[in-house]
């Protein structure tokens, strides 16, 4: 029988335990939840010249709080087709990039799982290593490769496969390429994690029962690795929709993406309310896949 104080302490915790719990909680509320509420508030405010460059929707007038939300920014988003085009284009580019990541990442993850156990740590480190080097510099590397006077064009001209330099940079395929290149590790790692946990006895059983390897893959391996496919796809798709650096450096003016729209509204047009409205709508677009990912992680626990 333990002393009552010990059991009580274990159940409720003391000051240290409470502080340890409160600190990260309070930080997330202050610097993640609260900022989103401010974004919603600013998206309902009116643009104005000054610092800050907007009139808040809730303000004190002669000591009386007055609530005057301005829905004009959202009306503006509906009005100008540029925004709808940018949203749809971002979703399209993110979807194509996710599928390309999956097509390249799945066989790679599968091959690493099949590799001899002593080689796996090295193979995995090689997947993660580029992620640790600068993202910006890795995207920059593609400018040197894809530019009109870049390495790829030099190679194609030398091989005689093309008579004149091709336009590769500042195109939508270049953006997709940049996203696949930057996000590939995020696809491979969750896939590897689920494939590694797969019990080899299942495949042996399938083979003993006369199942061919291809059928065993389609009917055993693939369905069991679906959680990894979904997790990897979300980790690529959601950030890719709002990506700024890659479309800015590798994309052209014809393929507008929504992350760049937020950036330009904010930095070039100094229209903070419209930038906030664009961000709120983007968040609403992404909330469904986010909740899905959340549930998936909950299931795994």
């Amino acid at each position: 029988m333990l002393p009552a104080t010990v059991t009580a302490r274990r159940r409720r915790g003391d000051g240290f335990t409470r502080l340890a719990l409160l600190l990260p909680y309070a930080w997330l509320v202050a610097f993640l939840l609260l900022p989103f509420l401010v974004v919603v508030a600013v998206s309902l405010s009116t643009k104005e010249l000054g610092t800050p460059p907007f009139v808040p929707p809730l303000r004190l007038e002669g000591g009386v709080p007055r609530l005057a939300p301005d829905f004009g920014n959202y009306a503006y988003l509906l009005d100008d087709p540029l925004y709808a085009v940018a949203y749809l284009n971002s979703l399209k580019v993110a979807l194509i990039s996710t599928l390309a990541c999956l097509a390249l990442g799945y066989p790679m993850a599968y091959a690493i799982v099949r590799a001899p156990a002593r080689r796996r740590p090295l193979l995995l480190t090689l997947i993660i290593l580029p992620f640790w080097t600068s993202f910006l510099i890795r995207v920059y590397a593609w400018i040197g490769i894809l530019a009109p006077n870049g390495l790829l064009n030099a190679l194609l001209l030398w091989l005689g496969w093309t008579g004149e330099p091709l336009v590769l940079l500042s195109t939508e395929p270049a953006v997709v390429l940049g996203i696949v290149y930057s996000y590939l590790p995020f696809m491979i790692l969750p896939l590897y994690a689920t494939l590694e946990r797969l019990d080899p006895a299942l495949l042996e059983a399938a083979s003993d029962l006369g199942c061919r390897p291809a059928a065993a893959f389609l009917r055993v391996t693939l369905p069991l690795s679906l959680p990894g496919v979904v997790a990897g796809s979300m980790l690529v798709f959601v950030p890719a929709v709002g990506e700024f650096v890659i479309p800015d450096l590798l994309g052209g003016t014809d393929s507008l993406m929504i992350g760049k729209v937020v950036w330009d509204e904010f930095f070039s047009n100094t229209d903070w309310p419209v930038a906030s409205a664009v961000a709120v709508v983007l968040l609403l677009v992404l909330i469904l896949p986010l909740l899905w990912l959340q549930r998936l992680q909950g299931d795994r626990r």
């Binding site: 719990l21 997330l28 910006l136 920059y140 040197g144 950036w263 904010f266 959340q294």
Partner: protein
């Protein structure tokens, strides 16, 4: 395994690694190119490294980045470790909200987080007059918020392998929770905590978007300096800088790899 299938897998793996590493290799090779032009190889030279050392603006930005990186990584490690411990508790009030908030920075487009935090800072500024101006502190807060989510994931994977009976035994023997944490839990999860710090530090050094939103006059970070230079086109100096970064990171990852990839605490009931 059939021969055809293993050949296919090997080809994909080789292609994948080539895809990941050839662009980085081109950066390194051309950082030693004497010519300013990318496609023209006019001879071996280390002059771009010399130019890098004399580029005061870039060195200043690197100093700012290192400072922001150390502050934010340390804050993120404390916050993320505590968050991972909180998630390991059986009873956690508001678990749904807590896990949702922790998962969000992992996938949220950075422009949204950057804009949101900037608007918060501006609002607090308007209400209280603090902070007087944006700079290292505001960037560090943003980076800590982003990185703590990653630290939580890393530390949590380490915590899951821990036997809770050890901590309970210590408490039964009269140790206070703080003592249990510092003398038992922390030493056992130390590799995860160190890996988390390194990850947070890297994320901070690498971030352009949050820093751009939250920086003020005179507090530009290295990625901001690189970005404004890269927007002008390809520059051999950036190639030289990229090479320095790649070499540094490779060394750190290989050293840290020995530390982190050592086998974790064994699950209960495993033979030693």
């Amino acid at each position: 395994m059939t021969g055809g299938r293993s050949r296919f897998l090997f080809t994909m793996l080789a292609f994948g690694y080539a895809f990941l590493y050839v662009p980085i290799a081109t950066l390194i090779v051309y950082s030693f190119n004497e010519s300013r032009l990318v496609t023209v190889w006019s001879g071996f030279s280390t002059k771009w490294y010399g130019a890098l050392l004399e580029n005061e603006a870039l060195l200043d930005a690197a100093g700012t980045s290192l400072l922001v990186g150390v502050i934010s990584a340390t804050a993120a490690t404390v916050l993320g470790t505590l968050a991972a411990m909180a998630l390991a508790r059986r009873r956690l009030p508001g678990r749904m909200l807590f896990t949702a908030m922790l998962a969000t920075p992992l996938v949220l487009p950075e422009v949204i987080l950057g804009l949101a935090l900037l608007l918060l800072v501006v609002s607090v500024q308007a209400l209280t007059g603090w902070p007087a101006e944006r700079g290292i502190a505001t960037i560090a807060i943003a980076h800590a918020t982003l990185a703590m989510a990653y630290v939580t994931v890393v530390v949590r994977s380490r915590l899951i392998g821990l036997d809770p009976a050890i901590g309970e035994a210590a408490m039964d023997l009269g140790a206070r929770p703080a003592t249990v944490f510092f003398r038992i839990t922390l030493p056992m999860i130390a590799p995860g905590v160190i890996a988390g710090w390194l990850l947070a530090f890297t994320l901070s050094l690498d971030d352009l978007v949050l820093a751009s939103f939250l920086s003020g006059p005179g507090a530009g970070t290295l990625p901001m300096a690189i970005f404004s230079s890269v927007r002008m086109g390809v520059s051999p100096q950036i190639n030289a800088l990229a090479t320095v970064i790649v070499v540094l990171v490779t060394v750190v990852v290989l050293v840290a790899g020995r530390l982190v990839f050592q086998p974790g605490p064994r699950p209960r009931g495993d033979a030693p």
